[in-house]
């Protein structure tokens, strides 16, 4: 297996992008990444794109061919593949790209993610997102994602004494980080009180505990590490790539306060990297709801089980803390165009490791981690990167 590096990254502004279409955004992100990598179109061997539900959101399927076409590469007839793992579609696209380069099958590969969610009503969007849960055993009985994550939160509160203020602190912190990120959907500081006073969605989760509905696209360019420096001054090496699955339905899990898929994917990625969680300097984790970030930092091994809420409260996970989490603003404040999120996480970690994260730069970051979850934890994907 060959070592794989990221030689270029690009990301659109996330938000309610009513003025552009899915294809506009994927072209914008792709051009940014290709420009950043110094490759030319003819050098690209393959493309992978993560997209959850363009069929439901914009009535467009066949996204693989579409992105090659939008990139102006249809004349090269390269393989272009759309992959789907709900909200982990972006992370999965990266992993497919990594496997393709590592195996020696391809050299220069684009891994991208895109989602255009605001062209439909919020009800239609919520229903499309609910298709990432178990339609027959969860959705038909009335569960939506806020309800599923609320159940995880309630048990976590009961078992470990986690408080809603600790969860709200995750949103406060991520909004602060988002204010420092030009591509973030929200540039708006919030307080614990704002979270508490925002409308209840599913007890204990308020509106400001939830990530928004967003549009956006992101792309990265991959190459074998041995030739990466031909293209990039500062390639970012992917030193671990883990993927794991679990039961689709939450009620079938061994323990609903632990995402076993995250534990297994992290174990695999850390094993490949030959490092431990304490070696990570900066991480992007899947905070689709505030409780999601608390579960993630526990399941990734950054803190002990049950201590995630306390870590948020004590500021360990804020910029300037021992382990800054979600410096992009996370899904909460940077936005969550589901298929694009996993690649945006990679974009953020790459900027951090290259020292290009501006006001949100983590000093001397050597190792970064990205954690992308599909559904309530049916899929988890963990990537570890180093300078």
């Amino acid at each position: 297996m060959r070592s794989v590096s990221i030689i270029g990254v690009g990301c659109t502004k996330f938000g309610e992008r009513w003025e552009v279409s899915l294809r506009d955004m994927i072209a914008e992100a792709g051009v940014l990444a290709i420009d950043d990598s110094n490759v030319i179109g003819e050098q690209i061997d393959a493309m992978y794109v993560g997209n959850m539900s363009a069929g439901r959101f914009v009535e467009q399927e066949h996204i693989g061919a579409l992105i090659a076409d939008c990139a102006g590469l249809s004349r090269l007839h390269i393989p272009s593949t759309r992959v789907e793992a709900a909200c982990a579609s972006g992370g999965l696209a990266l992993r497919q790209g990594v496997l393709a380069v590592a195996s020696g099958y391809h050299d220069i590969v684009i891994a991208a993610g895109v989602e255009k969610m605001t062209d439909v009503s919020s009800g239609t969007a919520a229903d499309a997102l609910a298709s990432a849960a178990d339609r027959e055993w969860e959705c038909f009985f009335g569960a939506t994602f806020p309800a599923l994550y609320a159940m995880m939160a309630r048990l976590h509160m009961r078992r470990y004494g986690t408080t809603h203020d600790q969860m709200a602190q995750v949103a406060v912190k991520n909004h602060h980080h988002g204010c420092l990120n030009p591509i973030a959907q929200y540039h708006m500081e919030i307080t614990l009180d704002d979270v508490d006073r925002s409308p209840m969605v599913s007890d204990p989760l308020h509106v400001l505990d939830c990530s928004p509905i967003s549009d956006g696209a992101a792309a990265v360019v991959l190459a074998p590490t041995e030739i990466a420096r031909k293209f990039a001054e500062m390639p970012v090496r992917i030193v671990g790539s883990g993927q794991a699955s679990d039961t689709l339905a939450l009620h079938d899990r061994r323990d609903i306060t632990t995402l076993d898929a995250t534990v297994h994917a992290a174990h695999s990625a850390f094993g490949q990297a030959g490092i431990e969680p304490k070696d990570i300097d900066v991480a992007e984790v899947h905070d689709c709801f505030t409780i999601g970030e608390i579960l993630a930092i526990e399941d990734l091994g950054f803190v002990e089980k049950g201590q995630g809420g306390k870590a948020a409260e004590e500021g360990i996970t804020a910029l300037g803390g021992r382990l800054p989490i979600n410096t992009s603003g996370g899904l909460k404040a940077c936005g969550h165009p589901v298929g694009a999120t996993g690649i945006k996480q990679i974009y953020e970690i790459a900027l951090q490791l290259r020292g290009e994260a501006g006001k949100r730069q983590v000093e001397d970051a050597e190792y970064g981690l990205a954690h992308n979850v599909g559904g309530s934890g049916g899929t988890a994907i963990v990537h570890i990167m180093s300078r």
Binding site: E16, W18, T118, S121, S122, R197, P199, M200
Partner: protein, 345 residues
């Protein structure tokens, strides 16, 4: 030729339902009213509709300034709830206020701004001396599907403006319109309730059009918000007009007299025009009023209005907006459903 408002009249039905009462039925929690900044909305009686509101408002306008209705050469009625799909509202209004038969009429629809479009049409006819007086009306029994967010604000009421070029109570100095094809809110033929694009109705629709029309007019006239004593914006809820005023540089004090949505809800085609009437109810000669309507689909008409001495003569000739607001009788949701014809027998 100087043209403008010769007289005006409004009508708001006396029934109200509190937003909290609607929220109680739908289980939407108790901070909906606060989040919309709308606390109650007007509800029609069982035999009231957009036509009866138009008639009442036109009668008030005629009475207020002692107008001879036979001088009226045009009646344009803007509404998105004309009771007949085919059969004009304007003819009923003309007959009811005793115009001569020598007038032209047509019904307008441009979501919530059909009333200001009617004012523009009347201004064209009176400014060119083709007619003596024209009546422009905005009236609606607004539609909002049960359980939809619109139900919290969709209200009932109307306003009529008599437009002419003599004996003006207020001069319309200029107007500017901004129109694009923006599908933020619509109702298809035969459908009982409108649909909307959720948050798409905000930035790309309401805010873009209102600010574009308002800035367009101020640029055309070389004015700034400081040149006006009052401002009125379309009022779909209590938040949008306040936010758009702040965005444009108008103060809370400038919009306060015309901000009626917290007490009566969104009267759609009547909204901006009732807000203007509430402002005329208190404005003094020499003061200037900035008005911008918004209609989904989408467009905005902005007007610069200068209040003249004559306002003092006609001010008390008909009930004021505050008179109507003060006359409130509250319904529970069951009676509201009956009044709105939501119960099908």
């Amino acid at each position: 030729m100087t043209s403008g408002i010769v007289s005006y009249g409004v009508y708001i039905p006396k029934y109200r339902i509190r937003v909290d009462e609607i929220a109680r039925v739908w289980g939407d929690g108790d901070n909906i009213a606060e989040s919309l900044r709308v606390y109650e909305k007007s509800v029609p009686d069982m035999d009231e509709d957009a036509v009866t509101f138009a008639v009442e408002a036109a009668r008030n306008a005629v009475v207020r300034a002692g107008i001879d209705p036979r001088r009226v050469g045009a009646i344009y009625t803007g509404s998105e709830s004309h009771p007949y799909a085919v059969k004009p509202t304007g003819t009923i209004v003309g007959e009811a206020i005793c115009t001569s038969s020598s007038f032209t009429a047509a019904d307008f629809e441009f979501a919530c701004k059909a009333g200001t479009a009617a004012i523009q049409a009347c201004l064209g006819l009176v400014s060119s001396n083709l007619i003596d007086l024209g009546i422009a009306i905005g009236t609606d029994v607004s539609q909002g599907a049960p359980g939809d967010m619109l139900e919290y604000t969709a209200a009932a009421g109307g306003a009529a403006y008599i437009i002419g070029s003599k004996d003006l109570a207020a001069e319309i100095e200029a107007f500017y319109s901004f129109t694009t094809d923006t599908p933020d809110f619509w109702r298809r033929e035969g459908m009982p309730y409108p649909e909307h694009g959720g948050r798409f109705t905000g930035e790309p629709a309401y805010f873009k059009h209102v600010t574009s029309a308002a800035n367009g007019l101020m640029k055309q006239l070389g004015t700034t918000p400081k040149d006006y004593d009052y401002a009125v914006f379309h009022q779909p809820n209590g938040k949008f007009p306040v936010r758009v005023a702040r965005k444009l540089g108008f103060s809370k004090e400038q919009i306060e007299p015309g901000l009626v949505v917290p007490f009566i809800g969104n009267t759609y085609s009547g909204s901006c025009l009732i807000g203007l009437a509430a402002t005329l109810d208190v404005a003094k000669p020499g003061e200037r009023i900035f008005v911008t309507s918004f209609g989904s689909g989408a467009g905005s008409d902005a007007f610069s209005i200068k209040v003249l001495d004559k306002i003092e003569d006609i001010r008390t000739g008909a009930p004021s907006v505050r008179d109507y607001i003060a006359k409130a009788q509250y319904l529970d949701y069951a009676m509201y459903a009956k009044h709105k014809g939501k119960l099908k027998l």
